[in-house]
Amino acid sequence: MEDLSVVIIKRGKKRYTEPFMHKKLHDSIVAACLSVRAPEGQAEATADAVCEGVISWLKQRPEVTSQDIRVIATRYLKKYHPEAAYLYEQHRITI
């Protein structure tokens, strides 16, 4: 799938930006699903569905923060795999 021309504002003090990368989001969702011992096929299918949802949300927005992407991805992931969604959400708030 092609990457959209959406600007992602990253976390941190410098707030640097990067273009939206479909693969990066897809890989992070797959990793979250695998972390909760989901089978690889299910992880891939879930990541496809979540990415589709996030991309449709992004289409109306030229600029979002990486935190927005995480929140929206978690919202979609909850529908398909609640356990993976929990771990995905917890990633930045574990330590």
Binding site: V30, E40, R92, I93
Partner: protein
């Protein structure tokens, strides 16, 4: 102070040390990342074992260094003012733990500097080799030094009064007990249980963990105060 009392104080201090959560958080993250990165189960076991060995090594090094420093400063019989200061540190730390240990927000974020938390999160993500996992274990103990310093000092004060053989036994006992929570998580991970269940449990019980850690510090303080300060005063009379 006899051997039984000394070992009891060391065991209680080590139990308090084991209740602190930074290393547990890092181990949970490390396990999650390793499984998510499609690494083999053998690799997962290797990395988590190296991490625990790193934590154990840093605990031994810290406790030995503090013991050596205290021995150089006060000799094998530290004055009561040092014990009283140790008790004061325990009480202060107990209030700190009760009030601030977990941040009042979602998740299990700890009251450690955000730069350290960020560094550990990023390092956990980048860890691929056993040596890196070992180093991560070393740094995670260092990261929670603010909280473990009081039980370490009390243990060191007890250790320097013992015979060399008992010092080694005490050092080993402290290290093993302080690693217990990590060993439990390691067993759960190695048995292929779900990481999210561990994190859910930790999040649901964080107030309880915080309360137990703080209360145990107060209990240790009373224990040490009763034996070392009141006990010596009565013995002196």
């Amino acid at each position: 102070m006899d051997i039984t009392v000394s070992l009891s104080i060391i065991a209680l201090a080590a139990f308090i040390h084991s209740s602190f959560q930074l290393s547990v958080s890092v181990l949970t993250l490390l396990s999650g990342h390793t499984i998510g990165a499609k690494k083999s189960h053998a690799k997962l076991v290797k990395l988590t074992t190296s991490f625990i060995l790193g934590v154990g090594t840093m605990t031994v090094l810290l406790l030995s260094t503090i013991s050596l420093l205290l021995l150089q400063l006060f000799g094998p019989k530290p004055p009561q003012i040092v014990w009283a200061s140790g008790c004061g540190l325990l009480v202060g730390l107990a209030f700190l733990v009760w009030l601030f240990y977990f941040r009042q927000e979602k998740g299990t974020t700890l009251w450690v500097p955000r730069s350290i938390a960020h560094y550990l999160t990023e390092r956990t993500k980048a860890t691929k080799l056993s040596a890196e996992a070992f180093g991560l274990g070393l740094s995670s103990v260092f990261g929670e030094l603010l909280f473990i310093i009081a039980p370490l000092i009390i243990t060191a004060l007890v250790l320097i009064q013992l015979e060399p053989t008992w010092q080694l036994i005490g050092l080993g006992m402290y290290t093993i007990i302080s690693l217990l929570t990590l060993i439990i998580i390691w067993v759960i991970v190695c048995k292929k249980h779900n990481i999210s269940k561990i994190q859910r449990w930790r999040e649901a019980n964080k107030n309880f963990i915080q309360f137990i850690s703080g209360t145990s510090l107060i209990i240790l303080c009373f224990f040490v105060y009763a034996y070392e300060i009141i006990g010596s005063a009565i013995g002196g009379i």
